[in-house]
Symmetry: D2
Subunit: 312 residues, 4 copies
């Protein structure tokens, strides 16, 4: 359960409040607002606030005075044009803010995206909750044999059980010792005779699957860049599920941008000069082999996969 009852109640109160605004409003995203979309065993993604909509992209591209009176089809065509030609600045004119609960090792990947605003709970100041990520048995996979940076087949039921026991035991023990070192007054087993260790030190005993939380805010252009990398099949599963939850919010928020993004980014393929030369030879009817292609083995395989010819 990612949320306590008190937290759920706070969210309900926030959802109940309505005010009137002159700003662009997106009913489909309003519907999701504040609600926690569950991710992994204890994590979530919540949309906290947003600015702009599909029309705001168009409006910025045209530097216009009003909301614009052109046809919806023209707006959609312009959004597609902007996306295809990588005119990124109009997409920067929309902004979104999320509240995310995620394991620390996922947070460490995520934070590499620098063009965002972040407020994380501080373990110098607060005590982290006893919540840590434990994968589902089917997600416990062996190291990939092909890819030094990825996972292969599932471990199997017995091995998975062993691994899970280790992960659980270590997380529980290190947390117990964290709490013992803190020796907080509020704790059930508080010992008034013993000084508590400073929080900024005690936290070092926690494992990397401990959950943390942050507010994370970014513009639509940078969000789409983040999602194109993190919703990708090469991304680690544990961050990909967050990206997928966020993709749903993008779809509700800016459907026109989402569609263009799906076509020109998520589903697009970048072919190098060498790959393009091969495609042209194939189209001319030549039977090109890897050896004769001028491409390395790895690049050849990537091209063949893109062309749905994995056997080649």
């Amino acid at each position: 359960m990612p949320l306590s009852q008190a937290q759920q109640a706070e969210i309900e109160i926030a959802r109940a409040a309505r005010t009137e605004t002159r700003r662009a409003t997106v009913p489909a995203l309003e519907e999701m607002l504040f609600t926690a979309l569950p991710v992994l065993d204890h994590g979530f993604v919540r949309v906290i606030d947003y600015m702009g909509d599909d029309a705001a992209v168009v409006q910025a591209a045209r530097v216009s005075y009003g909301r614009g009176t052109r046809k919806v089809s023209e707006d959609k065509a312009l959004i597609k044009y902007l996306m295809r030609h990588r005119h990124s600045t109009p997409f920067e004119m929309c902004e979104i803010k999320y509240h995310v609960k995620l394991p620390i090792f996922v947070a460490r990947q995520w934070i590499r995206h620098r063009t965002a605003n972040v407020n994380e709970i501080s373990a110098r100041y607060s005590i982290l909750d006893q919540e840590f990520y434990l994968p589902r048995p089917e997600d416990l996979a062996a190291q990939s044999a092909q890819n030094r940076q990825g996972r292969g087949d599932s471990l199997g039921t017995d091995q998975a059980a062993l691994v899970l026991d280790l992960l659980r035991d270590d997380a529980e023990r290190t947390y117990r010792n964290y709490a013992w070192m803190l020796n907080e007054e509020e704790a059930a087993d508080h010992d008034p005779e013993r000084p508590g260790l400073a929080r900024e030190l005690a936290r070092m005993n926690l494992t990397l699957n401990t959950y943390t939380q942050w507010y994370w805010k970014t513009d639509l252009h940078n969000l789409l860049h983040f999602l194109s990398l993190r919703a990708d099949a090469h991304a680690q599963y544990e961050i990909r599920v967050y990206a997928e939850a966020m993709l749903d919010s993008v779809k509700a928020w800016v459907p026109g941008c989402y569609e263009a993004f799906a076509d020109y980014r998520l589903g697009a393929v970048s072919l190098s000069a060498g790959m393009m030369a091969v495609v042209k030879r194939l189209l001319a009817g030549e039977a090109v082999t890897q050896e004769a292609s001028g491409l390395g083995k790895r690049e050849w395989r990537e091209l063949m996969v893109s062309l749905d010819r994995p056997e080649a």
Copy 2:
């Protein structure tokens, strides 16, 4: 007149529309929304959209689940604390978007602030309007004798009139020639026999006081940094008036942050180690002179001005 009737009508239509939202809404800023605050002779600043309010800063600092139920006085104290100790990230959680019309030479100063999103009208694509900035006679000042980067006394009525004639004549002639080179079909004096010069080339004939426009979006932290530099007495008058108009919008939007900003930034003074040493000697009753202060002349003068002792 910064706005045409058609533009004013578009704004009125946008202002008339209201929707319901779950997001934080600020009535005082809603009241200003879309309206053009006039700046200089043809320029303006319009608030186009915003995200967050004073409470959103507090909420992000606490990484909280709801809007928070604490007392207003606690929230205000926290905002002050964050501002005083330069905890800037919670202020990044609010965002605002402006539409600004401004002379090109002002735009060139402004754009140096890189942590913002910008969409400017493109003179490769569009034809700029015949509007250029002409200072009021009283704003035409001589080069400062003290400061190589500033202005001194007003030129006086006669000289100002001469200068204004030159500025007006040159701007009008260069614009006329710009339009002649473009030879647009829509123009009254269009000559179908003559090819029009590409817009991306013709624009080079315009003077730097020609007005341009952009959408400019930034977060509250970076906006306050911009305003602390550009609403300062050392900033050029022509950008300062924009900063002052924007300060009004900040006051309406986030009054708690504005108050803290006024106290800890706008009204604050940074005293160097050397300056602090002098202040302590003065407080101890010593009659310190510049020569005995260890400070350079310029720094001494700056300190004395800060202490309201300009005669010292």
Copy 3:
């Protein structure tokens, strides 16, 4: 002539000095160091400083202790892999600094790239030189009929001569009036009876083809992104020639990265999901038409151009 004799002499003195260093040094770039590569009629690009080389990219990707002892071929393969899979951070570990002299309207395009460090000469503080860009007659082109943001055929000798006269006259007159308003003591026609207008105001009378200068520093990743946009055929000619001069410096500096960049960026094509579907149908031997392709006319044309089938 982009450089005065005094400037040329300063550059020669700087070039003559040598010191010993433990840092990675690139002889081919050292050879170019400080020299002005002429661009347009009065502009230039000069490499002022650099940090890193091809090996520094590899070293950062491996977070290694020494300069690395692996084979050159392994390093090259790693660079290609990083470029192909958009692992951009190792390329950020090289840095380069340029001194550029360029027309103001080009500077305004350039500055949109925000991830760079810039120091521009200040016309609040200094007096700009009387130098402005005048295109060669063959570069004076008409507005493109196809592309609202581009140029088409050349104007022709007679029209070009008319346009050049206008551009020259207006630039000379506005500069003359700029100098008159400034009324600098050093000027030949200085009038001691008349106060000079503040520099920060007088500059507004200059035209956008006036030359300015700046120091511009960025990392290799962001430089390559800049070059991929500005050395592109769709970029305005007047900025493209700067990008091309800079490409030469990149080739001298990091030949391995340059090669990967040429293959995977400059020469690469991004095909949307819809375009890839068409390519697969073509490869399967189907005779696809635009109408049956599912692509819009514009996208279809772009795809056919990429496949060297412009007639389709």
Copy 4:
């Protein structure tokens, strides 16, 4: 011991190589180049590369053609002026690159500074070494009673020993289980019958005091901002010691900038409008109390500390 013999040997080889360059070179920093400055029990900071020197700041501020021929005293005065008036862009023209080995919980604080380039070793790809931070007994302090985000008195010998045992045991056990789950072929106890868990998953069992490494590159302006926050007395000890080691490298690299930084940043005090009012009243001879000061208790105390009147 932060370095293995093999690593030390690699560093020595890199240090032994010299080449000739036309670039600005700083002998005092060359002397430190590549050498590991030890920090904490297993960490270090190594300067890997640098660009620019004090003169490069001046050169950029003047946008000059050569290295400049003015007096050293003029250059120093200009640097001070730039620092005092927060003209930050010339300081951005120098760049430095470090290799840092640091505990993960320190890395998580550090990475919040977004204006830097980072390459961290990937625990998806590599296996982390068995090295974790264990504080010296005297650094194990209790939670501060005054400051919810800080540490107070030392725990005392007995308590410190208990805490250290816990930290060591937990780090060793979780690492042992990490290695068991990985079941690498190279391991002494490798079990060929058992599949190894993917690295990207196994890492989640490590504690936050495990050491990681990165290449970290930034410009001088952003470095000084980082150091002003992290070399400050309010920063956590474990990051402060890194900042202090880096301060030494800055002192060697750009002594003129360092001096200005020490005076106008490190040793400077920012007094709010309210604080300045109190200082003026004190200077006028008034006996101001907190109650009559208009300042809150906390702000009053901060002011008194700044004025060396802690008793007030």
